[in-house]
């Protein structure tokens, strides 16, 4: 099958949905780029180039914005209630700080507060994650905060295939969706069908099957879990890797099903550990699979610190395959395991 990058997969999803549905609009800072400037139009296509080319293909439907996230993220919510399907870009998720009200008090609440009368079909595309030495205000993995809010859906693709399918699903979905793009994954290539398709929300992907330990991993952590599993297989430990793909809705059933079989759980989450996806999934499993557990669930996360700048420190901050393998080993054969 054709191979394209994670970035191209998102771009293609946007283009195909814009082609299919004239109510889909795309906006954000420098999403075209060069607005009002003497040089080239569509000069950037977004700070990383994800929206490049859409400006010329869809005249009037790709808009640059001033640096006013409260206004344009809120405008996405308003536009969604009044006939459009906006895809707004919050360049780095860290910038949620300047516009969160429009997301969690406005967009997220309409449906429930208005007694089921509202539909808010908006997507917020946003970058997350450490790894590019961008320090404390450009490297956080803040998806647990959004997952916490009823009314928001949260998608976190780990591969080009999922990126395209989840994006198309997100655009067609009638609820506000926060779409998390790990900036380190943009250049990753994978097989992606040319035709349009969706990946349903709330359906975990069984990335690898195994009987000894369940590893639930999210976003960039999925490939790290695969590397760990490969290493452990050499020692006869078979890992089952689940990628939830969306954290809200969360495919709890698949997780429980896997843990019932393996009796052991490791959750890998790039965010900080307290009130994280890792702590959430570990708690759900402890509550729902207690009888099946042969060891206490383990979490592999970033530490409880902001992301550091120095490459040495940042490399130690992000969970890596070695830490995942060590955690898996411990639940299988270490002190954490019950006899």
């Amino acid at each position: 099958m054709r191979r394209i990058t994670f970035m191209q997969a998102i771009n293609e999803a946007l283009a195909q949905e814009m082609e299919r549905d004239p109510t889909v609009v795309v906006f954000g800072e420098d999403n075209a780029g060069g607005a009002g400037a003497p040089g080239e139009d569509d000069a950037w296509g977004g700070v990383m180039g994800v929206t490049k080319g859409l400006y010329h293909s869809f005249p009037g439907r790709v808009l640059d914005t001033p640096i006013s996230e409260s206004a344009f993220i809120g405008a996405a919510a308003g536009a969604a209630c009044s006939g459009l399907r906006p895809v707004a870009e919050l360049m780095f998720v860290d910038f949620m700080g300047v516009c969160f009200d429009q997301i969690f008090n406005q967009a997220a609440k309409f449906r429930y507060m208005f007694g089921g009368k509202a539909r808010t079909p908006m997507v917020i595309r946003t970058m997350y994650g450490a790894g590019i030495r961008a320090a404390g205000q450009h490297s956080q993995s803040l998806y647990p905060i959004f997952t916490h809010i009823p009314g928001l859906k949260v998608a976190i693709p780990s591969s080009p295939y999922d990126a395209k399918g989840l994006m198309i699903q997100a655009i067609r979905d009638d609820d506000p969706v926060i779409f998390f793009e790990n900036k380190v994954l943009y250049a990753v290539e994978g097989e992606v069908p040319e035709e349009s398709y969706t990946v349903p929300f709330g359906e975990a992907n069984f990335v690898r099957e195994g009987d000894d330990v369940t590893i639930v991993a999210i976003g960039r952590m999925v490939s790290f879990a695969e590397q760990a599993a490969e290493e452990l297989a050499g020692d006869g430990i078979e890992c089952e890797i689940l990628d939830p793909r969306t954290t809200s809705p969360l495919d709890e059933e698949s997780i429980y099903e896997s843990v019932e079989n393996t009796g052991r759980l490791v959750v890998v989450d790039e965010s900080n550990p307290r009130c994280s996806l890792a702590s959430d999934i570990a708690a759900l499993v402890a509550q729902n699979c207690f009888e099946d557990l042969k060891a206490a669930p383990k979490m592999v996360t970033a530490p409880h610190t902001p992301p550091p700048f120095s490459p040495t420190l940042e490399d130690a901050y992000v969970p890596d395959p070695e830490r995942i393998a060590a955690a898996a080993r411990e639940v299988v054969e270490g002190a954490g395991a019950r006899a």
């Binding site: 009002g36 400037a37 001033p66 300047v98 030495r133 404390g136 550091p308 420190l313």
Partner: protein
Amino acid sequence: MTTVDTARLREPSKEELLESYRVMRTIREFEDRLHVEFATGEIPGFVHLYAGEEAIAAGVCAHLNEDDYIASTHRGHGHCIAKGCDVKAMMKEIYGKKDGLCHGKGGSMHIADLDKGMLGANGIVGGGPPLVCGVGLSAKVRGTKQVGVAFTGDGGSNQGTFLESLNLAAVWNLPCVFVVENNGYAESTSTNFSTRGIDIAKRADGFGMPGVVVDGHDFFAVYEAAGEAIRRAREGGGPSLIECKVNRYYGHFEGDAQTYRAPNEVENIRRERDCLDMFARRVTDAGLIERSELEQIDEEVRALIDEAVEEAKAAPEPGQADLLSDVYVSY
């Protein structure tokens, strides 16, 4: 909008002029060198260079005492240098080293030194102005004569936090100065697009404070306007807004191909409106300073930056324990 009341301003002394020139030259040399070093791949992360805009940081900070505060932006190296941050420690920070000004935890976008009244470069556009309102409040409540200055870009001036801060500072009559560095672009987006062609200084009218536009290439224009605004703030006269029209010599960040700019745009500005050239011409034509005195500073600065880079490259990395330290004062 008001005009600057020059009658009340003192001319800078020769020593002060030499010092301001040294600040501008240090910033230029620092940034030009980073431009070269970044291309080698040795510098991690995002680097936003201030070259071309030196007259603003130097002209404003010339009026500030060590215990006055400034809040900076992502394009912060110039503000740091002008406010007295240690250049070698800054360089180490940019290289992510343990002895960097923030122990390698912040990098270019977060250089800070509270002992020097430098509240930090900022990765969040519009992050600084509210902090400066707080500085103003603190000075007012404690009855000091300190002043707070917020630097913001043209792009940042469209952020709610900036506009809310103008209003808050006016309402509380705070000793604050808001300096907008209008370099024509926010990333690749032109100011013509994002502010509908009006002077950003005009926004001051809407909040009931004085606002002026000055040529940000001209040290003396900035010096005068900032002197007036800072004096007013110190004397209890409340906040002001200064818009400095200026140009950015390099890309938004290092690695920006800048296809949105006109051909020769930067070359022309460098030739005609370079702040260091304009300064040198003015002070030598007026017979205030000899060319050789400036050249001596140039040489000293070049040596300083050479050493700073060399030492930064050789400096030790942070250790693993540094990852977990300094999250809280106590916990």
